[in-house]
Each structure stands twice: as structure tokens, then as C-alpha cells.
């Protein structure tokens, strides 16, 4: 699982730190850090919460293009 740069970019665009985003969705900062670094695969519930806070869709943040296509 690679790094989630789209999430990082969307967060930076909103001028939010990892701590701000973590507080907004009710998780620890380490969890957001792990998601951005690709170390943790979040549940759909957490994904939707993050999308709502950042004003993006699941496709925008979490859809990975298939490398075989």
C-alpha cells in the first residue's frame, strides 16, 4: 500500500494539520499519519468521515488507479 498523497494534498489545501483533521474526525493524530503513509487501511466509516471534513468524495481521496490498466 503506497502513500496517500491525495489525502495529504487535500488536507494541506484546507490548511489543516494532521492534528486538526484527527480532532475533526475523532481519531488520534497517529492514525491520520498512518493513513497518509499507507501504513493503515481505514474502515469505510473513517474514510467517509475524512471525506466529509475535507469536502471531497471517496473517489477523490481513496480510489487508486489500477497499475495494470
Amino acid at each position: 500500500m503506497g502513500k496517500n498523497l491525495k489525502l495529504k494534498a487535500a488536507r494541506a489545501a484546507k490548511d489543516m494539520s494532521q492534528k486538526d483533521l484527527a480532532d475533526a474526525v475523532g481519531v488520534t493524530r497517529q492514525t491520520i499519519n498512518a493513513i497518509e503513509n499507507g501504513d493503515y487501511n481505514p474502515t469505510i466509516k473513517l474514510c467517509t468521515a475524512i471525506c466529509r471534513v475535507l469536502g471531497k468524495t471517496l473517489n477523490d481521496l481513496f480510489w487508486e488507479e489500477d497499475q495494470n490498466e
Partner: protein, 147 residues
Amino acid sequence: MNRRRLDEMQVQKRSVIGSQTFIMLLYLLLLDILLNGFGFKWVGYPENVLLILTLCSGVYALRLILANAVVGPAAKSERLLLKAVLTVLPVIAVSAAAAFWVKDARFGIGEPQGDISTLLLFITSGAALFIAAAAFAVKMIQTRNEE
């Protein structure tokens, strides 16, 4: 989401660490039984089990601290150090009082063991407290640096 509880990654980590520690406990107890079966007695009966349990609990606690799976998101702003000190101090006081009151008591009809079990237990608990404090300090410094 309920901020008082652990978040989903913390729950997952806690679950993995718990099951791994349980397997470790099982293997250590089996190893102890095996050694006893071969006639090798490293410590007397209740102390061997207690030491193995203490070791596994210590490993479990340490790994939880290092994996940041002890307290949930909302608890971060609370005074964790104060809480830890207020928990540890009464424990030490009660342990010292218990040791003082029962030091001359005789609970069995057998003669006193006189082996190194007491010393081992003392060193184990002291080392566990020291390691837990060190891990807590390292974790705090790491969190501060990351922020």
C-alpha cells in the same frame, strides 16, 4: 465517533498485541513445564508462574505504550502523567505496607525457601516500573518531535 474510546487503529493494534502476548504466555508456560519435567528447576513453584505472568504483562503494557494504543483521542489533553503518578504511588504504598505487615508471617508448614525468588520478584517489578516509565518518556518526546 466516540472520542472517549480508542480509535479503530488503536483497537486493531491492541487486539494484535493481545493475541501475540497470549501466545507468548502459553509458550513460556509450556517451556516451564517442559524444563520442570526434565528436572531443571530455575525458580520455585508459585514464583515461576508469577514471573512468567509479570513478564508477559510487562511486554503487553510496553508494546501498548509504544504502539500508542493505551488512551483514546480525547484523553490526550488530560493530565496523563499526574494520573499515572497518582496510580503508581498508592500501589507502591500498599505493596510496602503489605510487605511490612506480612514479613514475619508464616503461611506454610514447610521451612522457608531462602532462595533467590524474592530477590527475583523484587528486581522484576522494579525493572518493569523503570521500563514502563522510560517507554512513557520516550513516547512523549517522540510525539512532541512529530508535532
